[in-house]
């Protein structure tokens, strides 16, 4: 079922404006370059704590942030990309990873428990999936739009499933997202369960879809799902690097970043995309260099 084209709708990228496509791509570039710099700093020994990188998965948060604006955000450990996609400031996240008091959580959050009141993002406690009931409670208490992001393994926590059921029963304004890289550390999803989250969500009476990580496809569905909350989207994506740290065991099942660049070329946006890619890289590299020197 996992594939680079699962759930694909032909020519879906053409349904979006040039501006939306390039904004989405820029977010992907920010996240990817940020993570490569994090990897570099880690490999050189500047970072002395566990890190959870999102390389390969960046299309998910980048697309969602365009289609689902200004939610209160509850995510888990793999969250640099989410923070950045929703407009989190870059330097305080670099500082957080470098254990500085000027970090976004003053060093308490590290890589896995970052937060930002500015963008409405709450920190994670380290218990996988506990952000989902908390997100549901936040929606219950605030009646405001919430984004609740889980991994394919956290989705298996009983409290995730039961709180999704509660959100459905009480019609709470939550978009549930499963960033499904098919892995719980190293254990593949098929070893862990014979059921799918999309069926669980549908059984709760929610609108729910299961797709690949094509960012235009994600934007298309999220825009629709956002009209009838709570709803659920399961997105198959690939984690390129280790669960924790910077190693790489094998080539990813597909390279979404490369595919997106091809798609942009087909949309006649090759030049602009290349410029964004280069400028973003230079910009992020410079920021990291500066913070590392301090």
């Amino acid at each position: 079922m996992r594939s680079k084209s699962f759930g694909e709708i032909k020519n879906i990228s053409k349904h979006f404006t040039k501006k939306e496509s390039l904004e989405m791509f820029k977010k992907m570039c920010i996240s990817r370059n940020f993570e490569f710099n994090t990897k570099d700093a880690f490999d050189k020994g500047y970072i002395k704590m566990p890190i959870y990188l999102s390389v390969g998965e960046e299309s998910v948060s980048s697309a969602i942030s365009i289609a689902y604006k200004k939610p209160h955000i509850f995510a888990q450990h793999r969250c640099h990309d989410i923070y950045l996609a929703f407009g989190g400031e870059i330097v305080p996240l670099i500082d957080e990873l470098l254990h500085k008091p000027s970090g976004i959580a003053k060093g308490m959050g590290g890589s896995a428990s970052i937060h930002s009141p500015k963008i409405g993002m709450f920190g994670h406690s380290g218990l996988m999936g506990d952000q989902i009931p908390i997100a549901v409670g936040y929606a219950l208490g605030s009646k405001q739009k919430v984004l609740a992001i889980m991994g394919d393994a956290s989705a298996e926590e009983d409290y995730v499933i039961s709180s999704m059921g509660y959100a459905a029963s009480k019609k709470l304004p939550v978009l549930f997202v499963c960033t499904d890289n098919g892995l719980s550390i190293l254990t593949k999803v098929a070893v862990r369960r014979n059921w799918s989250m999309v069926n669980v969500a549908k059984a709760f009476g929610m609108d729910a879809v299961e797709i690949t990580d094509d960012p235009w496809l994600i934007m298309h569905h999220v825009k629709k799902l956002a009209k009838n909350l709570p709803s659920f989207i399961n997105i198959h994506t690939t984690r390129v690097l280790w669960h924790n740290g910077t190693g790489q065991d094998s080539e990813p099942e597909w390279d979404r970043f490369k595919i997106v660049k091809e798609d942009l070329k087909n949309l006649g946006l090759e030049k602009q995309a290349l410029k964004i890619e280069q400028e973003t890289k230079e910009f992020i590299d410079k920021l990291w260099k500066k913070q590392l020197k301090k």
Binding site: F122, D130, P133, G137, L140, S162, S169
Partner: protein
């Protein structure tokens, strides 16, 4: 915030506080089966979901998380857990999120956890107090009010601070409409410290012991964490010839031993005489349903015997 001062029971006080919180503070109260057992022993006001009385599903682990989320949203939720034994499932988000949020991110998460105990009577369902599992974790305030005034005091603290709070309630407190004063005598033999429902038995035990010629001080412990060892505690122990005894309705291997140790540490090396402190709580075994297999907080008889034992094993009263 001060509620009316007319005489009322603890149950009426809790209900009144909850009603005001929901209707005047935009507060929330959440829990399971809130209309059951006569609206949780008469502690729940008859309000609707729209007014903020929210019925949760039976999923205990996510229920705790949902209440924590409501706290982050600024609703200062009252989270009702009808048996303290259910905290094994509910505690996770309370101690691992609400209690850490301020330290981790500077984001307070004030949640008022009403956790209700009773004295045995339901076999292994762990009906006793379970405040010990919370006392072990940083970032949460733990207390065990037994009187309407204590309950008001605890609520005022909650509204004036932004800490998550674990309120170790006891069903036996619900009909109580009077204050429980500490008993301090000039020359006591033993100081008894009592928590939650054991306070009721302790009051009886002090009377019985007095009849047997044994003088006891009795100090009621409302605030369990942070546990402040005040001058009264030190003076009372210094003046008690044979030491102290702490009573609890939770298992002995819990808060009891922590509190006893804290007191002994405070006494040691500060010019005070060393005083032994004994503990008495639920026994280290599972409770069964048959009455003779139950595991109850120390009875009046057991308290009396233990005080006599403390005296006898410390060189008898002459």
């Amino acid at each position: 915030m001060e509620e009316t001062t007319q005489k009322m029971t603890v149950a009426e006080k809790i209900s009144q506080i909850t009603r005001n919180h929901l209707l005047k503070n935009n507060g929330l109260a959440l829990g399971q089966c809130l209309t059951a057992v006569g609206w949780v022993g008469g502690t729940i006001p008859h309000l609707s979901e729209k007014e903020g009385l929210v019925e949760l599903s039976m999923a205990d682990v996510s229920g705790g998380g949902i209440a924590v989320g409501a706290a982050l949203a600024g609703r200062r939720p009252i989270y009702i857990v009808r048996y303290q034994g259910f905290q094994w499932y509910n505690a996770a988000s309370i101690v691992n999120y609400a209690a850490k949020s301020k330290d981790m991110w500077g984001i307070p998460c004030p949640i008022f956890v009403r956790s209700i105990a009773m004295d045995g009577a339901i076999g292994p369902v762990a009906s006793g107090s379970h405040h010990s599992i919370f006392i072990r974790m940083p970032g949460i305030v733990v207390c065990a009010p037994m009187t309407p005034n204590e309950y008001q005091q605890v609520w005022n603290y909650f509204m004036e601070h932004d800490d998550p709070m674990y309120i170790s309630e006891h069903k036996k407190s619900f009909p109580i409409d009077y204050d429980m004063k500490d008993i301090i005598k000039p020359k006591a033999d033993v100081t008894i410290f009592a928590i939650s429902s054991t306070r009721i038995n302790a009051i009886e035990a002090v009377k019985t012991l007095e009849g047997n010629g044994i003088v006891c001080n009795l100090i009621h412990l409302l605030w369990l964490k942070p546990f402040v060892i005040n001058k009264k505690i030190i003076a009372s122990l210094n003046q008690s010839r044979f030491g102290g005894l702490i009573l609890d309705g939770d298992f002995e291997n819990g808060a009891l031993k922590c509190l006893a140790f804290d007191i002994i540490q405070k006494l040691t090396g500060s010019g005070n005489k060393f005083k032994p402190i004994k503990t008495l709580g639920l026994e280290e075994r599972s409770a069964g349903f048959a009455p003779h297999l139950d595991n109850l907080p120390p009875t009046t008889g057991k308290i009396v015997k233990t005080v006599e034992y403390i005296i006898n094993s410390n060189g008898k009263k002459n």
